[in-house]
Symmetry: C2
Subunit: 276 residues, 2 copies
């Protein structure tokens, strides 16, 4: 018997994957959580039927959501990840020697627990002494911490349902206040090909709050369309043209390079037009 | 009853699309040809079960395979397209005012015929007086024409079965001779994510023949992984850093810009490493 899972994020165009086995499937307090082992992409974390990350392509998302802001900031010391319970962003953040503390604020403790069990390649840094794991509401956490983080990474699920409050102007104002005076915010902001209106509205919300707001793209094969946007809001630094002087090279990266850092901000015409 | 088609180009990871209707399905002399109308992407040309082009995302492929070489060459006058029976590359080529003649050499006349009937948005330039349509074998055509074309575009299906002869060193040597002394060759060369060995071997074959060989990437949502490579072989011009002086701006493009032209050659680390 062949087992396949089908992801219906886009109503009339699905990605399907042949599966070896289901390692865990449970209803948590917040969502339907599954970790399955696929033939083509290795183990996958699936939340509410949407593939969040896979062993084979997670490097693209986690490197780009982490190294773009951390190479942009001159000396990031304290970093907050909202969401990101798989630990992939934390793993990348801790590769920067300036980082003294990385806080993970994930609302669903079950995601952390299962990823620590079944996705060790991704969650491996969650036990690092510089990492502090906090299970709770990111909106509340951000509200209660002012002027504290150099970088805030919103590594959330899609802006429908549970994660809806992590997108939009009122949360971005809270993020702004939670950041230090030269702080940087980044969020995954969906696909301009299938969801142009979402990308546009989230970008405009961030632009209303941050002095410098830019969007870059990365290629993530297991996300719909394979082409994903990230929005960066910055109080001071230009994320497109960072000052790399004094920055270490990090060994072992598979997607990020200093050259791709800037090139990722060069947008195809239809994405440029969306942001006008 | 819901109708879906499923594309099995990657054995254990498929794309599936919900279909309104099948406009044509026939066995031609060379392949299984279908044109279907999908809910999400509009009409699609499907050859031997593989989606070749769709109304919604064809602009990416056709703009990038055409405008990269045509903006690189200082004054392209004669252009050859091998394959490309849908006419999309011809449509883009004829937007360049220097072009006097664009030859389409497609082995399967049925592709041209059905695309002219059912994909008019793509095939619309095939009746242009500057376009000459030739139904026949591209390998033979290239062999019989020496020192004739400023740009040759190999717009083929995948390098398995019918199109296999359009990839590899012996064909690239023929291409070299078919080009004028400052000629440029370009081909679609698959996905580095799912088929790294194919990308590597095709690139090395081209590098053995051309003084300047470079690879660039474009995101094409309906191709596996959404991330596609193109290899450019050039006798003289550097395709990554073209001289745009004297070049017209083309109105109405949706992907290509002069900025994205160069940025597309900046590769993620894992693709860079493939080509070492």
């Amino acid at each position: 018997m062949d087992m396949w899972i089908s992801e219906a994020q886009i109503p009339n165009a699905a990605m399907t994957y042949k599966i070896k086995e289901t390692l865990v499937r449970r209803q948590t307090e917040f969502q339907d959580l599954a970790i399955v082992d696929s033939y083509e992409l290795g183990r996958m974390l699936v939340l509410d039927g949407i593939v969040q990350t896979t062993i084979k392509d997670e490097f693209v998302y986690h490197e780009m959501i982490s190294h773009i802001p951390l190479y942009t900031h001159s000396s990031p010391k304290k970093v907050l990840v909202v969401g990101g319970g798989d630990g992939g962003a934390i793993r990348e953040i801790l590769k920067h020697p300036t980082v003294e503390k990385a806080v993970l604020c994930e609302i669903d403790g079950a995601v952390i627990e299962e990823c620590k069990k079944h996705l060790k390649e991704i969650s491996c840094a969650l036990d690092d002494p510089r990492c502090e794991v906090f299970v709770g509401d990111g909106i509340k956490y951000v509200h209660e911490h002012k002027n504290e983080f150099d970088v805030i990474i919103v590594d959330s699920t899609d802006p429908f349902g549970a994660a809806e409050g992590l997108f939009g102007g009122s949360f971005y104002k809270e993020i702004y206040q939670c950041l230090t005076e030269d702080g940087i915010f980044i969020a995954q902001t969906e696909t301009p090909f299938y969801l142009p209106e979402v990308v546009k509205s989230v970008f405009n919300d961030a632009r209303d709050v941050f002095p410098v707001t830019k969007l870059f793209m990365a290629h993530i094969p297991t996300y719909p369309g394979g082409y994903w946007s990230f929005t960066v809001g910055s109080k001071k630094y230009d994320p497109e043209n960072p000052d790399f002087s004094g920055k270490v090279d990090i060994d072992g990266l598979k997607y990020y390079t200093k050259k791709i850092h800037s090139a990722a901000f060069t947008l195809p015409k239809y994405v440029e037009d969306l942001l006008k």
